[in-house]
Amino acid sequence: MTRRTRVGPLASRPHDAERLDIDALLADRDTNIIVCCGAGGVGKTTTSAALAMRAAEQGRKVVVLTIDPARRLAQSMGLTELDNTPRPVTGFDGERGGSLDAMMLDMKRTFDEVVEAHASPEKARQVLANPFYQAVSSSFAGTQEYMAMEKLGQLHADARRTGRWDLVVVDTPPSRSALDFLDAPERLASFLDGRFVRLLMAPAKGPVRLLSAGLGVVTNALTKVLGAQMLRDLQTFVAALDTLFGGFRARAEQTYRLLQAPGTAFLVVAAPQSDALREAAYFVERLAEERMPLAGLVLNRLTPDAVPGLDGADAAAGAARLERHHEHPVTAHLLRLHAEAAATADREEHLHRRFTAAHPHVATAAVPALPGDVHDLDGLREIGELLAGPAAA
């Protein structure tokens, strides 16, 4: 990872974060794309689904693109197969004229569709049969990011054209880093323009003797490392990409600009742990660098303050006293639990304040932890209410 300069205030006092008004964001008709990003395991998919459902119940026409939902959550939304087709979710409240469609990303199929849409049937058959294409489209990590961007662009264009949706909510792939998702279009574009592609294409375009000495060295080295057969397959693949994906590059750049447009809102999702918040800080800084509109931070699974008026330290002391006398074991246990929860809540608040000190302009929606897992529409509705905050509940 390259070293990066921190962006943020040079001096800032710790203060409470501004509240992120989720309902205002969803009600704003100018918001037409919401992207949820963040580290793995912080509840991105659930947050996306809950936001989509809340928006739909408030009258928006929503499609939510999920990447890898938990099985039961997917089933509850009627997503039984990974087939790239947005399907209506039944069982939500459509009284206010909203609609809700959901789909799961099938990266291989998305890739195949792009090929089929942009090549002659003969050429498409060739590409689909190329071993490099098969490996890249189905099993190599990283493809998901490209395809999520492609699908987002398609959904947005469909929404514009047909008027079927006025809000696209996107869950991002559980990437190894923020870079993968944001960089996908840029990377593809720079690859297709790069010297390497020209190098691979060179033998197909002109006699080898016309190549410069430097090129000759490289081609020889590649043949030595890859072997002639593999290099030929790679060349065929890249040649196909080049002719096919001129349009792909243009669309990738378009999607990138779409992400920068004011109608897009990024939500950075985190859990109150230091590594997740570190990743969140990284996202916030990265989005600012790319001039992408950040709506705020969703801080999931905060430890709730269950016993108002009882200090954590007092509870611990009280528990110790009961334990010493072997009295009231149940109360002692409850007091212990409270003391631990209070200490955890303090730690989480401390982490959040540190984040806010570094990023004072990032509004936060804080979501308390629920005892159980969310796997039905009622659960999503509950999360939606918690996201909107106490005033809206």
Partner: protein, 327 residues
Amino acid sequence: MTRLHIVTGKGGTGKSTVAASLALALASGGRKVLLTEAEGRQGIAGLFDVPPLPYSEEKIAVAPDGGDVYALAIDPEAALLEYLDMYYRLGRAGRALDRFGVVDFATTIAPGLRDVLLTGKVYEAVRRKTRKGSERHVYDAVVLDAPPTGRITRFLNVNAEMAGLAKVGPVRNQADSIMRLLRSPQTAVHVVTLLEEMPVQETGDALDELAAAGLPLGTVVVNMARRNDLDDRALTAAESGRLPDKGIRAGLEAAGLDADGAATQAMVHGLQALGQAHAERVLLEQEQRAAVAKLGRPVTELPRLNETIDLGCLYELAAELREGGLA
């Protein structure tokens, strides 16, 4: 005997913490262990509270009763140049590849080649001997903090994929050797989970996929298991919100925490609600514990530590892992 321990788990289950603790546990008793991470997140440096790791093997901790843990954050670009140099002695041509964007292509643009390089570097570290011709390995064990469950099989199997692309030649040979190591009894893939529905389900899915790919399964590590001191009767009562007011009120009084009527009543209600949420989670955990037992793998449980994970915690968890028989 296992020399390569691969640690995976759903995001948020604490797989990096478990990998680090496992490295400490394996090193104790005077052994030398390499802890590597493949995701470029510098998670090891964060856990051990040291500056970001360069692309070199640095000693970052000593284990109880002697033993060293070295750490390495694998940088795919450096790994590729090293690989080209080591196997092909490319020299000037290697630098030319770099200039023409081939290195960039291989490490960032071509999805998947990164995984080939990462697994290749791990393979090299596992097999490295103290000197040429020696039978002694540099590292007694290597622990890999691997990608999460959703991607682990694809990650480990990437060399089989490579073998499909390169029918013959050096790339093919290298890919085959890596797959041989990964599928041998020298390797074990451990899966970290929480006692929650989603991670347990993903653990089961990952175990099935790994087994189908012929990769050797290790232990299921249950992380952050909740402590519970309530007996079954109290737990059932707590779950339905029926812990008696009177008992809690008397407990508060005995603990010296009672106040005037309304404030005490509020505390009683708060504690009941807390007890209810706790019972709900504990009962869910019991259900999931049974589900984990059905996976048919050895299981080791680590307690939930109510503090920010620091080096002290890692030692504590390392001791638990040793007791659990994982090291």
